[in-house]
């Protein structure tokens, strides 16, 4: 007499349906809809700023070019800035989602855990030492810094046997960030010129970012995106715990390596372009999870639309809210930190 197992069946790679979207179709629709705010953000970023430009003019400048002030403003400044906002947003959002999945920790993100600070420190050191401020050179240093910091985080952080609890991981990350930021800061204090140059960059800024910067980081971010988008199923399995993941046939070690490679590329490039920007990697996956649930196959693609939207709006906000600009990194902190507070107040701490 053979019995049947109880009703709950475990489908590998498919977490229980949760979030707003209950069916695949709803999820698909929501993902498609998420492009709309992104487009709106792009338009706002092109039109709004130190001088508001009517949309017809924006269109003319984009399509016809020209050498008048408006066209130059649009094409030489706002377009690269907008593109960069999108790229950096995608990069940090993807990195955050990957880190949260890998460390099974909803508080993990590249800003909080020191990855961006490591990248930035490496850049500052390279500029201070070599005097070379060309992004095509220091971007490699940025990767080095990001990789070292990511390795430290991974070594100390993964949950499970001997691993850190979410809070302990965050504490370690914050301590590490404090040290890295402090040392970077010390370098800037040695030289008033460097100090002035870097003080805008230090908090994450998209100001005065031109085509060459975009060109400098674009290839790396694209590769990072491709690597990241190959990972969703593996990350779903790893999220269930190492033992379960192996039992499900996931290649845990290679997933980890690829994840760290992706995070390094994405964070290194983003920080080299815009300086360390925090909380984006925390906010975007949180929002995505609320919409589609904890399935990486939906979360990672949403990182192509949600975080760049947030970035664009944060950047635009920084342009308009005060008379001189507020760096986008400051704005994301103003938005993201309260979100963190809300997160901590809503859940029982043990549930993290």
């Amino acid at each position: 007499m053979s019995g049947t197992l109880d009703s709950t069946r475990v489908t590998p790679g498919r977490p229980a349906a949760s979030g707003l979207a209950r069916t695949t179709r709803t999820r698909g629709i929501l993902v498609a809809l998420s492009v709309i705010p992104l487009v709106l953000g792009i338009i706002a970023s092109l039109a709004i700023g130190s001088g508001d430009i009517p949309l017809s003019e924006v269109w003319r400048a984009l399509t016809q070019g020209g050498t008048d002030t408006t066209a130059l403003l649009i094409n030489d400044y706002r377009v690269p800035r907008t593109i960069l906002a999108v790229l950096v947003g995608i990069a940090l959002g993807l990195a955050g989602a990957i880190m949260q999945a890998l460390t099974r920790n909803p508080l993990a993100e590249p800003g909080l855990l020191g990855v961006n600070s490591g990248a930035f420190l490496a850049v500052v050191i390279s500029i201070a030492i070599t005097g070379n401020a060309d992004i095509r050179n220091f971007v490699w240093w940025s990767f080095l810094g990001a990789a070292v910091a990511a390795a430290i985080v991974y070594l100390v952080g993964s949950r499970g046997r001997g691993g850190a609890t979410p809070v302990r991981l965050v504490l370690t990350g914050v301590a590490l960030t404090a040290v890295l930021n402090g040392v970077a800061y010390a370098f800037t204090l040695t030289n008033a010129d460097i100090f002035d140059r870097i003080r805008y960059w230090q908090s994450g800024s998209l100001q005065s970012r031109t085509d060459d910067i975009v060109a400098g980081v674009l290839p790396f971010i694209v590769v990072g995106i491709l690597v990241a988008l190959a990972l969703p199923r593996a990350l779903n399995a790893v999220a269930l715990g190492d033992d379960v993941a192996i039992a499900l046939g996931a290649r845990v070690a290679s997933t980890r390596v690829l994840s760290i490679v992706a995070v390094t590329l994405l964070c290194g490039a983003a920080t080299a372009a815009a300086g360390p920007i925090g909380f984006l990697g925390l906010m975007a996956p949180y929002v995505a999870r609320a919409i589609v649930g904890p399935d990486q196959r939906w979360i990672l693609p949403l990182m192509l639309t949600i975080p760049p939207t947030i970035m664009l709006f944060a950047d635009v906000l920084g342009r308009v809210i005060v008379s001189s600009e507020m760096p986008v990194g400051v704005v994301t902190a103003f938005i993201g930190a309260p979100l963190l507070i809300v997160l901590m107040r809503r859940r029982r701490v043990a549930d993290l």
């Binding site: 993964s158 001997g162 301590a175 040290v179 402090g182 800061y185 930190a337 107040r345």
Partner: protein
């Protein structure tokens, strides 16, 4: 049957009063205190005008020509040394208290962020109100206390859990750091540079008036810590066990948060933020004294030594220039942290 006592405990009986302490911790404290005296004596001889120890001694035993030496020692060097030691003690005690409350060796006020609030307060007074030394100190103190209150309120949800306090502290710190950045960016470069330099903490130009506030704070707070320290140790057992033993968990935590914040805010107000002493000193003291959990007295001693030593390094390493002492403690703290991480990584891999 005193053989049962924890191996290193000693008991002192005076009439019907009994006091208990740990022999090894007491030994460590004494040794570190002696080290403080030695390094302090060394520090007396260092400076723009090198003075030898016998010159110092001579200046106090009545040699009229040594007036200049005596003035330098009494008015310039001694206050600086005293302040470094008591600031170190205060920071270490603050760190010990917070690490005990949060039950986490990383739960230190400079990470959770009470320092950042002090910096915000100071920045506002420097950049917006254009204040002087006293004004800045007051601003820092107020900033630190207000920040602590905000963090505590946000973390309160029927009580304050250590974990929640930590993360909310981190979040509030992030907002304040953004505010600080914003304040610095929106002001002129020269002003910003000066304000930003304050952030590294420095004992330059310290005279006796600067020593007074910190000394008073310690004089008031240390007895309070002594009275409540047993409650703190019971709290380490977990809220349930602590309540079972008759300790009011929330009340005790609140008292110690207030004491800890006051200690760190006053030091920050006096000399600017000095990081990582609150983090490292209690753990180093723990390691030396081999104690369970955090112990207050050895932490204070180690803290005093750390800051004094760091200040000596800050004065000498690029002499005749002076580094901000906060930079030295940051570097030492970085080394400490890496060591800690390496240890944790090793535990994970074995």
């Amino acid at each position: 049957m005193t053989a049962l006592l924890p191996r290193r405990s000693r008991v002192l009986r005076v009439g019907r009063a009994t006091l208990r302490w740990d022999a090894r911790a007491a030994l460590v404290t004494i040794v570190v205190a002696v080290a403080v005296l030695l390094v302090g004596a060394l520090a007396l001889t260092l400076g723009t005008y090198p003075i030898s120890l016998d010159q110092i001694v001579a200046s106090f035993t009545g040699d009229p020509d040594a007036d200049g030496v005596r003035r330098i020692v009494l008015e310039w060097r001694l206050p600086r040394i005293v302040l470094t030691v008591i600031a170190g003690m205060a920071l270490a005690l603050s760190g010990a208290v917070f690490q005990s409350i949060t039950r986490n060796p990383l739960g230190s006020p400079d990470i959770i962020g009470f320092n950042t609030g002090a910096y915000t307060g100071a920045l506002i007074t420097i950049l917006v109100l254009g204040a002087n030394y006293v004004g800045t100190a007051v601003g820092a103190l107020v900033g630190g206390l207000v920040t602590a209150a905000i963090i505590y309120v946000f973390a309160w949800r029927g009580g304050v859990q250590g974990q929640r306090l930590i993360v909310i502290g981190i979040a509030v710190t992030a907002v304040l750091q953004a505010v600080n950045t914003w304040l610095i960016l929106s002001s002129k470069v020269e002003l910003a540079f000066g304000a930003a330099s304050w952030t590294a903490g420095s004992f330059n130009e310290v005279r006796w008036p600067s020593v007074l506030p910190v000394a008073i704070a310690l004089a008031v707070i240390i007895p309070l810590l002594a009275v409540f320290s047993r409650n703190l140790h019971v709290l380490e057992l977990g809220d349930d066990a602590a309540r079972a033993l008759g300790v009011r968990a929330e009340g005790t935590r609140l008292i110690f948060v207030v004491l800890g914040v006051c200690l760190t805010a006053i030091v920050t107000a006096a000399v600017g933020p000095i990081s990582f002493v609150a983090l490292a000193a209690p753990q180093i003291a723990r390691w030396l004294a081999g104690s369970a959990g955090v112990s207050l007295v050895p932490s204070a001693a180690v803290g005093g030594l750390l800051v004094l030593g760091s200040d000596v390094i800050a004065q000498r390493v690029i002499a005749p220039g002076q580094l901000p002492v906060g930079l030295v403690t940051l570097s030492l703290g970085g080394v400490y942290l890496l060591g800690l991480l390496a240890l944790q990584a090793r535990k994970r891999l074995t």
